[in-house]
């Protein structure tokens, strides 16, 4: 089975690239590939960094249950220096990292289960930045948090980005979160990027019919008109059909969609893969 095919992404310095799509489209696989937890069968990932940290959705599960916050925060440094034990001398560094992500000093001595979800995610972000990485992958970092806490964490990320020139790859299924944080968006459907471009444009004037349905099924985006929900289930990634993977659910489907995968249409800094829209686009221009 191939979870991902032909994914071609770029993220610039200090930029946030959001990867959106429904469950099972390959978002998490992509994240794991990016940070090197899995090896691609083909293709390459090029970065200026040797270690790309990642923040997981499960804020509790990604923290060592038997270590205190201060130890967790400096663990990447200990690993890099090949030291096995946390020493009191490391406390200063832990404090510095904690200050960056808004963890107060009294939380440093606590265990992960003694923290709130928001605090835990701050610890996760702090640890991810302990090595001063320039790039950070976040896999649904706020989906498990309350809305008010979500905003705090998103603001923290924006702030860190502004002060440190951090590039973020932000994986999410929540379009309102994406709208808030991302400059660029890539829409993933069944392991392929079907559309990408600047967030503002993609999220308002979608080109690919899948993006459109995705936007219309987002209650925040539609004021008034009834929510249109995508019909049917995505096809199984196990059976590879020729043609466009969205053809089976697409309202605009044409015969060609079932036989041939559409090549990417590039329009400035936007890109999409759709036969029908490519034609319409072509005649308009």
């Amino acid at each position: 089975m191939r979870a991902l095919r032909g994914v071609d992404l770029e993220v610039g310095e200090g930029e946030t690239l959001a990867i959106v799509g429904e469950s099972g489209c390959g978002k998490s696989t992509l994240a794991r590939l990016l940070v090197g937890l899995e090896k691609p069968d083909r293709g390459v990932i090029e970065t200026s960094e040797s270690i790309i940290p990642m923040v997981f959705q499960d804020s509790l599960g990604s923290l060592h249950p038997r270590r205190r916050v201060e130890q967790i925060l400096v663990e990447p440094i200990l690993i890099r220096e090949g030291r096995w034990r946390f020493t009191p001398a490391d406390r200063g560094r832990a404090e510095a990292i904690a200050a960056k992500v808004g963890i107060t000093a009294e939380l440093l001595g606590r265990f992960p289960h003694e923290l709130s979800g928001g605090q835990r995610q701050r610890v996760n972000i702090g640890r991810a930045l302990a090595l001063d990485s320039k790039i950070l992958v976040l896999d649904e970092p706020v989906s498990a948090l309350d809305v008010s806490i979500q905003a705090q964490i998103l603001n923290l990320l924006k702030e860190l980005q502004a002060t440190q020139g951090l590039s973020l790859i932000f994986i999410s299924h929540d379009l309102s979160v994406v709208r808030f944080i991302a400059q660029r968006v890539a829409v993933l459907y069944l392991g392929r990027v079907v559309e990408s471009g600047p967030a503002r444009e993609v999220l308002t004037k979608a080109q690919h019919p899948y993006t459109e349905t995705l936007l219309q099924s987002d209650p925040d985006a539609t004021d008034g008109p009834p929510v249109r929900v995508v019909q049917g289930e995505p096809p199984s990634p196990l059976e590879v059909l020729p043609g466009c993977s969205f053809a089976g659910r697409c309202p605009l489907v044409q015969p060609i969609c079932r036989t041939e995968y559409p090549a990417a249409t590039v329009r400035g800094d936007r890109q999409f893969s759709c036969h029908v829209r490519a034609q319409a686009d072509g005649t308009e221009n």
């Binding site: 940070v35 090197g36 937890l37 270690i51 790309i52 940290p53 990642m54 997981f56 499960d58 599960g61 990604s62 923290l63 060592h64 249950p65 038997r66 663990e75 990447p76 690993i79 890099r80 096995w84 640890r127 090595l131």
Partner: protein, 271 residues
């Protein structure tokens, strides 16, 4: 129940450690003319020998205390050996996955397929009967259980995101297993350790009884049972007393192990 079990274990541990000072006589000292005396309160008892004497006139109290030392330390040695090897092998299997894991697990299945006492007999037959060899044999038979428990725990922990995140930052296998995974597998390991101790005591005693462990005149409980088995009818207390000691220790250890299991993780009941 738990308190009683804890008190029993504590009592025997105390006997084991302070034995030489508590015992009224040496375990091998024989007394003329006082053979197979019953404990105090029975006809023909002698006030010098609270629990009576055996067939060659040795004091039962002193022998049982010496037996506590031998049996408990044998159990401890079994546990230490099987735990250290079992945790090592189990961690390697759980961490590596793939063919190495399959090979190790099939090997452990093979060991488990043999009745443990049979396996122990094989080991002792090769090494020759002695308390040390009985300990080794008992350790070999309890390794597979430890390996399986540790492997399962490591295999679960290694997929959790805290372990993944350590790997992200470049932590090596040894570091991840020792610092990240094992501390979080302590609950099942601790339970296995307690239950393994009971099994160790029992297996060493069983081998002693079969004449494959400690040799007479050793006061190891199983050996004492074997010595006395000819007198079951004429002097039943010679069999009953060491038997009761074994029963009390094993039962208490198992009760403790079970309550530890329930306290540490109710999910472990399934393992």
């Amino acid at each position: 129940m738990k308190r009683l079990a804890l008190a029993t274990i504590g009592f025997f541990l105390l006997l084991a450690v302070l034995g030489p000072w508590l015992a009224p006589y040496s375990a091998s000292q024989t007394f003329e003319g006082v053979y197979r005396l019953p404990p105090l309160g029975f006809d023909g008892a002698d006030a010098r020998f609270i629990l009576g004497t055996d067939d060659v006139g040795r004091d039962q109290v002193s022998r049982l205390i010496e037996g506590a030392r031998l049996s408990l330390f044998a159990g401890l040695a079994v546990t230490l050996i099987s735990m250290s090897l079992g945790v090592l092998i189990g961690a390697i299997a759980g961490w590596s996955g793939g063919w190495l894991e399959s090979v190790i697990l099939r090997l452990m299945d093979t060991l488990m397929a043999l009745p443990s006492i049979l396996l122990a007999i094989v080991v002792v037959t090769i090494l020759g009967p002695s308390l040390t060899n009985a300990v080794l044999a008992a350790a070999v038979t309890s390794i597979p259980g430890v390996v399986r428990v540790v492997r399962a725990a490591i295999a679960i922990e290694k997929t959790k995101s805290y372990a993944l995140s350590s790997r992200l930052f470049g932590a090596g296998s040894l570091r991840t297993v020792v610092l990240d995974l094992l501390p979080n597998c302590m609950a099942p390991i601790l339970v296995q350790l307690t239950l393994g101790f009971g099994d160790g005591v029992l297996n060493v005693a069983a081998l002693g009884f079969l004449g494959l462990g400690a040799r007479p005149p050793s006061a190891e409980w199983g050996t004492m049972l074997a010595d006395a088995k000819g007198f079951v009818e004429s002097a039943p207390f010679l069999v009953v007393l060491p038997g009761l000691c074994i029963l009390a220790v094993i039962l208490s250890v198992n009760i403790l192990g079970d309550s530890l299991r329930d306290r540490l993780d109710p999910k472990l009941r399934k393992l």
